[in-house]
């Protein structure tokens, strides 16, 4: 267990990479895609998105999806982090770069209409709750 993650290791977050970070459109899809890498999202997915009666709609792999735009909470920012492995220099410190930033993303459901009860929306409540847990307490007795 310990050899898997050397506990002393620091993984640097390269803040300088922010200036080169892209502003990509981000979509959370309700299916597992067994692939990492390039895809012509702009060509085949984005153009078919349209505003339906009560939600955004799109067809993906022959399935109709219903979606909603989710805003990142104030004071927070969406980041896509990337680590480029250099197998030969693994001993040297590891670094993670910011590849892309975003302030909202589109969450897609299969059947159900998107709502405030969706897990992804609920999860965005975490920063507020976390703030209450971690902010300093009042000093007076």
């Amino acid at each position: 267990m310990m050899c898997e993650n050397q506990p002393g290791t620091l993984i640097k977050l390269d803040l300088g990479s922010l200036t080169q970070a892209a502003h990509d459109a981000v979509h959370l899809l309700p299916c597992e895609i067994q692939y990492n890498g390039h895809a012509a999202v702009d060509k085949y997915f984005i153009p078919t998105i349209h505003q339906g009666a009560s939600a955004k709609e799109v067809s993906f792999r022959g399935r109709p999806l219903k979606g909603q735009e989710i805003k990142i909470p104030a004071g927070y920012v969406g980041l896509v982090l990337e680590e480029n492995h250099k197998p030969c220099s693994e001993e040297k410190g590891r670094t993670v770069c910011m590849k892309s930033t975003f302030l909202s993303f589109t969450q897609w459901n299969l059947e159900t209409l998107p709502s405030a009860d969706d897990c992804a929306v609920m999860s965005l409540m975490w920063p507020k709750i976390s703030k209450a847990i971690h902010q300093p307490v009042d000093n007076e007795e």
């Binding site: 899809l29 990492n36 927070y76 992804a120």
Partner: protein, 307 residues
């Protein structure tokens, strides 16, 4: 199929979607300062977990993961198979320091300088906790202090700690209320239940929920003591209040079962007493513990390409 996936994953750089506090992006003012991920001891489980530390902000950030099955991302013109959503939120480092103060109290039981207390061979990065100024200045919440010469000595104090934790619970309850978090036993399964729940929710439900959240940051014994200190009855022997009981009977099976498996499957080594785990933690449970274990392995090259 599986082997093809392995090859592709291994060939690609690793990538994660993270929602982070924007203060984390402040550029360092001094050379040597920076922001980095590192492993520290989770004060609840005593095991390693991933944290983010900004030395310019002298702030520790907790990393949690929100993980729903069968999800993937489109990011620009790319597909990311890993559909998880990570969060980096500011964390009160006093929780992590408290772990060491309690340990020192058990082992030495004397007044000590704090830099002698936070020594951890297994997690050498622990010394960064001393750089969290806000937390170090708050030591008086959980210790007795003695000043000899110019040096300060500390000793864990349970009564003060419980008082401090109670304040944490109270401010968390407040946030749960203002943000309309459903703390009843059936959360979010349908709008019908949801609206019904709002009518049903008691002050005790809120306190219990908040206690559950705070318990993620303190050792088990202390969590049990806090439960008593908050005068919350233990869930295992519920008081026979007809309306409450009815709600529990009717609603719990819907959510509780799923909830427990969620916790147990993700937090492999740690079995928590069930009285701490209210089904009410449903909504935030998903954000919660799974990350602590998972993310560490995903930041390790081997386990990612092995999968």
């Amino acid at each position: 199929m599986l082997s093809r996936k392995t090859c592709e994953t291994a060939a690609r750089p690793d990538q994660w979607v993270l929602i982070a506090r924007d203060s984390l992006l402040e550029l360092p003012k001094k050379p040597g300062d920076g922001t980095f991920f590192t492993r520290l001891r989770n004060p609840s489980t005593g095991e390693g977990a991933l944290f983010l530390f900004s030395s310019c902000a002298q702030q520790l950030f907790e990393i949690k993961v929100f993980n729903e099955d069968y999800h993937s991302w489109f990011i620009g013109q790319t597909v990311q198979h890993d559909g998880r959503l990570f969060f980096a939120t500011p964390m009160d480092a006093l929780f992590l320091i408290l772990y060491y103060l309690i340990k020192a109290e058990k082992e030495q039981g004397k007044f000590q300088p704090v830099d002698q207390v936070i020594v951890d061979e297994e997690f050498p990065s622990s010394h960064i906790l001393l750089q969290c100024t806000q937390a170090v200045q708050s030591l008086h919440h959980v210790t007795e202090e003695k000043e000899i010469g110019s040096k300060k000595f500390y000793k864990y104090n349970k009564e003060k700690t419980l008082k401090w934790l109670k304040k944490k619970v109270v401010q968390t309850v407040k946030a749960l209320k203002t943000n309309n978090v459903c703390v009843g036993s059936a959360v979010q399964s349908s709008t019908f239940i949801r609206s019904r729940q709002i009518l049903d929710v008691t002050e005790e439900d809120y306190t219990r929920y908040a206690h559950g959240l705070i318990s993620e940051y303190i050792p088990e014994d202390l969590s049990a003591d806090l439960l008593k200190y908050l005068e919350l009855p233990e869930l295992s022997k519920p008081v026979a209040q007809p309306p409450v009981k009815k709600r529990k009977l009717s609603d719990k099976p819907v959510e509780a079962k799923e909830d427990y498996t969620l916790f147990n499957s993700t937090d492999l080594n740690k079995k928590k007493p069930s009285n701490k785990m209210t089904a009410a933690q449903k909504s935030l449970a998903k954000v919660d513990k799974s990350g602590m274990k998972n993310i560490s392995s995903f930041f390790s090259i081997k386990s990612v390409s092995k999968k």
